[in-house]
Amino acid sequence: MELAIGIILGCCALGAGIAMIAGIGPGIGEGNAVAKACEAIGRQPESKGAVTTTMIMGCAIAETTGLYALVIAILLIFVAPQQFVNVLTKAMGK
């Protein structure tokens, strides 16, 4: 029983860690997008307003991937282990 619970906890932690790999991408992507926006504003300063609005929306969309990963990781760390252990306990009880 303890071994099974240990495996469940280990797998959940491992899954959360793997999910958080997706958290790296948005940071790099947003960074590159903003760098290019700076370049665009440098070339055409009058387009700053339009670029800012587009950048905000673009960054928010790019960040969502990271948030999905974060939400999955949080659920795997805090919610899933208890659920799995309950299922296991029920199965062992039978």
Partner: protein, 139 residues
């Protein structure tokens, strides 16, 4: 402190409004589920939703401020600044979820779900613009 761009207030207001509507929708779903699952909806869901909503909108606002500040920097600095900010905000959201897990007055699922509301709000952005354009045309 530098003046905040009016675009940021406008976009944050829109995100806050749509997220609020989605929060009400989420509460009603929890309420419906509570007919079958006892204890699915109680004060912890409301408090959790409130916490998640505030941090989701706050995260979007901080991101807007980051973009505004980054656009005044040179290319390389801007990219590093945004990466650092994104990492910090992600850590902040994780700490909020951690707090929600350890403080028993918050329902962790009700805290986490509102983090995704700004994305759904952005999905509705073109629709809102289209309605506004049609209204302007009619006038």
């Amino acid at each position: 402190m530098k003046k905040i761009d009016p675009v940021i207030w406008k976009e944050t207001g829109f995100i806050a409004l749509v997220s609020f509507i989605l929060s009400v929708l989420m509460q009603s779903i929890f309420l419906i589920i509570s007919h079958w699952v006892v204890g699915a909806w109680d004060y912890t869901v409301i408090l959790g939703n409130l916490l998640g909503y505030l941090f989701a909108v706050g995260n979007f606002f901080l991101m807007c401020l980051t973009v505004q500040k980054a656009l005044t920097k040179d290319e390389k600095d801007a990219a590093n600044f945004v990466r650092l900010s994104q990492m910090g905000r992600m850590l902040l959201l994780f700490l909020v979820a951690l707090a929600a897990y350890f403080i028993p007055v918050f329902n962790i699922i009700a805290v986490v779900i509102p983090f995704l509301f700004p994305r759904i709000a952005i999905m509705f952005r073109p629709l809102a613009s289209m309605i506004k354009q049609r209204r302007n045309k009619n006038e």
